[in-house]
């Protein structure tokens, strides 16, 4: 599934999006752990971010499906 990164998280990971292969039934919490395992330097940014699935905020226990568009949303600063 496609995972989008923005702002400080994007800089820490070094990419604005990745395609992640995740097993059926992976939760957002598990996806966070995967990302932190793969990109250790970005761990504090991932911990400090919210996650959106298909353009809506989602909580850590939520289960991801194939084809979901996931976004890692660091603290926002618009307005």
């Amino acid at each position: 599934m496609r995972v989008l990164f923005f702002a400080s998280v994007k800089d820490a990971i070094g990419a604005d999006q990745l395609n992640l292969e995740l097993p059926e039934g992976t939760s957002i919490a598990e996806m966070r752990d995967r990302l932190k395992g793969r990109f250790g330097r970005a761990a504090p940014h991932i911990d400090g971010s919210r996650v959106a699935v298909n353009a809506a905020f989602a909580e850590d226990p939520s289960v991801l499906k194939d084809g979901d568009e996931v976004a890692v949303i660091p603290p926002v600063s618009g307005g």
């Binding site: 976004a71 600063s77 618009g78």
Partner: protein, 166 residues
Amino acid sequence: MARIGPGDRVYRLIVELTRKPIDRDRILRAIESDAAGAIAAFVGTVRDHHSGRSVRELAYEAYESMALRLMTAIADEMTRKWPLSGVALVHRLGNVPIGEASVLVAVSSAHRAHAFEACRHGIERIKADVPIWKRESYVDGTSTWVGTEPAAASLRPSAAPKATAR
């Protein structure tokens, strides 16, 4: 531009992300209505300083599809809480020069009390939840994503990251 909001209330809606200067006159005219005696507007503009540092320029980026969806939901929420004839939520993206407008929130309503309150609510909600980020570049060559922890703030000389289309 007319939208049927909660409770079947019809209101004029403008929700935009733009890379051009915000056209305040056009937007305020678009939410005028014969039924509305009051228009309240908030304009956020780019300051030349932040936490004691001189700002050279700043740029906004957004998760655009989600930002537009949330801004529309915020407008619907505003019409649920107050009787409004029109709502405009406009945010600028990309580089915004010092002194220019980065965000405009405007509402029209029959009465000024509702217009003031709804306008305030609109900007507070945008600042709290809409996926838009501000990157400030300072005169001393450093830059930072506003709102990140001090330890995580980028101290590299500012260079715009190359983003793929999405």
